[in-house]
């Protein structure tokens, strides 16, 4: 089989992994080497599905001894199998890199023979790249659950980011859909990577040129919508991972039905893209906006409202904390205003040092006031034409995009009565009753420990 055919098969098998970021490490180029890394990451292209292409995302092989039900590469699936020779993959990477097609390599793999054997082949390919081809660009690998500690250690010194995919957010789901994997097999390498990074940090204090261990940190991925796990479970798990394992990112992947199995959504169901989108919004709130998972969803309301973004939803339930005064509010408080993001908040803090702010001034800064105007005052005044009443606020908050993305809105014109939960609060109820009414559907038996992570 030639490289082109292999590339087609092994790319197709890798495409469901969402992580494609090349961020987290700044490394200058060196004479005699090829490549550098930029902390912000660089997107090199965008695929027809709108996702960024930054790294050459392929599998070492799509052969696999495991039979995880949700996976395209499970052993019982009838599909063409192949594998890259380590040198083939190294050649492909360095040649793509020289043409500036990619920022580096993202290597994952099915489990061929055993986890150790698979890891060894991946290490071989990466060693050719790093030593023979003096490749100094970005490399992200997926550690193979079950591989020996020493292999993870060796790999960690070669790559920028190493991650382990949790995939299923609860032990029950894992037991049903991936019976050959255990939480232990997933969490052990995560713990090892974390410990390696910590140890490396103290080494670097003593020896400035100590080799770096996974300098860009680790990430993981959770599949959304393949199992009945609630948003509350997913977000508390993410929060735990950020805190306990110092993860850089938790990625969410809307489950695309590829397999017909009674335990999984039917082949004709669409991937839950809107839910994935809301989870990413919530993830941003956790990482950059100082929110906790319990502020976004709690055990009583375990799922997010798909109709509005989680920050708006929070603000609507806490109208008593608004409006806030733009010229005095702290950065943290500004971040809580719907429509004001990290950039806008920074600009406000910077600009108000030099002169007092008006709504006109905010517009000039580039702060989008469409939603924010319902939650802020400038020198004690509300924006012209703004009336703060539940219905006007709600109308102002729902973007056209939000309305379009709602399943109920397809075709006909959307009315507020179609927005779940909102209908009741619009029936002339006072502002503070605007809250998040309990949703029907999934019941959650709240566990204290999930995956060994205290949440």
């Amino acid at each position: 089989m030639d490289v082109l055919e292999k590339l087609a098969i092994l790319t197709d098998a890798a495409k469901y992994d969402v992580a494609c970021t090349s961020s987290g490490v700044d490394r200058s180029g060196q004479p005699g080497k090829t490549g550098s890394a930029v902390a912000s990451g660089i997107c090199h292209s965008f695929a027809a599905d709108g996702r960024c292409i930054s790294l050459l995302k392929v599998l070492m092989t799509n052969q696999c001894v495991y039979d995880c039900k949700y996976c395209v590469n499970r052993t019982s699936r009838d599909t063409q199998r192949t594998a890259f020779a380590p040198r083939e993959l190294a050649d492909l990477t360095i040649n793509f890199y020289r043409r500036n097609y990619i920022e580096g390599l993202f290597l994952s793999s099915g489990v061929l023979k055993s986890p150790d054997y698979t890891m060894e082949r991946m290490i071989e390919a990466i060693e050719i790249l790093r030593t023979e081809y003096s490749f100094n660009g970005y490399i992200h690998v997926k550690a193979i659950p079950g591989a020996d500690n020493s292999l993870i250690q060796r790999m960690g010194l070669l790559v920028d980011r190493m991650s382990v995919n949790i995939e299923l957010p609860s032990e029950d789901s894992l037991g049903q859909l991936a019976p050959q994997k255990t939480p232990e097999a997933i969490l052990r390498p995560m713990g090892l990577i974390r410990a390696g990074i910590e140890e490396n940090k103290s080494d670097l204090v003593v020896y400035r040129h100590a080799p770096k261990f996974v300098p860009a940190g680790q990430s993981t991925q959770l599949i959304i919508g393949a199992t009945p796990d609630s948003d509350h479970r997913i977000l508390t798990l993410s929060e735990g991972l950020y805190k306990k394992y110092n993860l850089k990112r938790v990625f969410f992947s809307a489950y695309t039905p590829i397999v017909d199995d009674p335990m999984l959504p039917s082949l004709f169901s669409a991937p839950p893209l809107l839910r994935e989108h809301r989870l990413y919004q919530a993830d941003w709130l956790l990482r950059f906006y100082g929110f906790t998972a319990n502020e976004i969803v709690d055990a009583k309301n375990p799922n997010m409202n798909l109709a509005i973004d989680p920050k708006c939803n929070w603000a609507l339930r806490h109208l008593d904390q608004f409006p806030i005064e733009v010229s005095r509010a702290s950065y943290e408080r500004l971040l809580r205003v719907p429509g004001i993001g990290v950039l806008s908040a920074r600009k406000i803090v910077q600009a108000r040092r030099a002169c007092s702010l008006t709504f006109e001034g905010l517009r000039k800064l580039g702060v989008v006031l469409k939603r924010a105007r319902f939650f802020v005052t400038c020198q004690g005044k509300v924006d012209e034409g703004v009336v703060i009443r539940p219905d006007t606020v709600l109308r102002g908050l729902l973007s056209k995009n939000d309305l379009r993305m709602l399943p109920a809105a397809s075709g006909d014109q959307m009315t507020f009565l179609d927005v779940p939960d909102m209908a009741r609060s619009l029936g002339g109820m006072p502002v503070n009753a605007f809250g998040y009414l309990p949703e029907k559907g999934t019941r959650e038996n709240a566990k204290q420990y999930e995956f060994g992570i205290h949440i």
Binding site: V3, K15, S45, D49
Partner: protein
């Protein structure tokens, strides 16, 4: 200072030339309403009083140094980058910015709601964004060991790209040609050169190169998930104007 409503300064189009305009305006106690290059000036308009400003490196150096001393070190970088932007009449905005800077000191950088400062900051951000885009979207084709790329940027991104790619490929030989501004950056292991270039013709590519083009197109196509097809999102992140020079979209 005399605010002359029809005074236009003409300079040679270099940053040093522009800085000399600032110098002369202070020496002559006058405020120009426009600062243009010879190229843009064309025929002077009726009632326009044009003044040719000679470039003097010593004068330019004085102004450049005063930006650090009287405003801020970041303001120097800011002015250098502002000069690379495609903002129409950028010179007069930069001129007003420097005047304001002398008046307010470093806090001029915080006056984001001011029209002059705000406009310049937006233009510089646009330049930085475009240059960041090109760090990803530049495609090299290899001709006999020389990596060549052609781009059509709106801003003069080459100085920024040159730093990035020189750092990334220190031992390679590469050329990036900017059609819009008829400039090129040429890098060899011995050194880097930014130069004017009016035309670039390239030989046909060889089979090995063709093979990599095919491999890359295959990857770019295969990596997309059909169920998530979203061309609008793709175009938001990567507007069509970039596509013409990208390997994956060539026919």
């Amino acid at each position: 200072m005399q605010n002359n409503t029809n005074l236009v300064y003409i300079y040679d189009g270099t940053l040093e030339g522009f800085l000399c305009c600032v110098y002369e305006s202070y020496v002559r106690h006058e405020i120009p309403v426009h600062i243009r290059t010879e190229h843009d000036a064309g025929q002077p308009l009726l009632l326009e009083e044009t003044e040719w400003i000679r470039t003097d490196m010593e004068h330019a150096g004085k102004i450049y140094e005063s930006i650090d001393r009287k405003i801020a070190l970041e303001a120097q970088d800011f002015i250098r980058e502002a000069f690379l932007t495609c903002l129409p009449d950028k010179e007069i905005f930069m001129y007003r910015f420097i005047r304001m800077g002398y008046q307010y000191g470093r806090s001029v950088m915080d006056r984001l709601t001011d029209d002059t400062v705000g406009t310049l900051i937006k233009a510089v951000r646009n330049l930085q964004r475009e240059s960041h885009n090109f760090m990803g979207f530049v495609r090299f084709t290899i001709y006999d060991g020389v990596m060549v790329s052609c781009i059509s940027p709106k801003n003069r991104v080459l100085p920024l790209l040159s730093d990035h790619f020189t750092n990334r490929y220190p031992d390679e030989t590469f050329l990036i040609y900017d059609r819009t501004h008829q400039m090129a950056v040429v890098h060899k292991p011995e050194g880097t050169l930014l130069t004017a270039m009016h035309h670039l013709s390239l030989p046909p590519i060889d089979d090995a190169e063709k093979a990599y083009h095919t491999l890359w197109k295959c990857f770019q196509k295969t990596i997309a998930i059909e169920e998530r097809h979203n061309p609008k999102c793709q175009m938001n992140h990567m507007p069509k104007r970039f596509w013409a020079d990208m390997t994956e979209f060539e026919s």
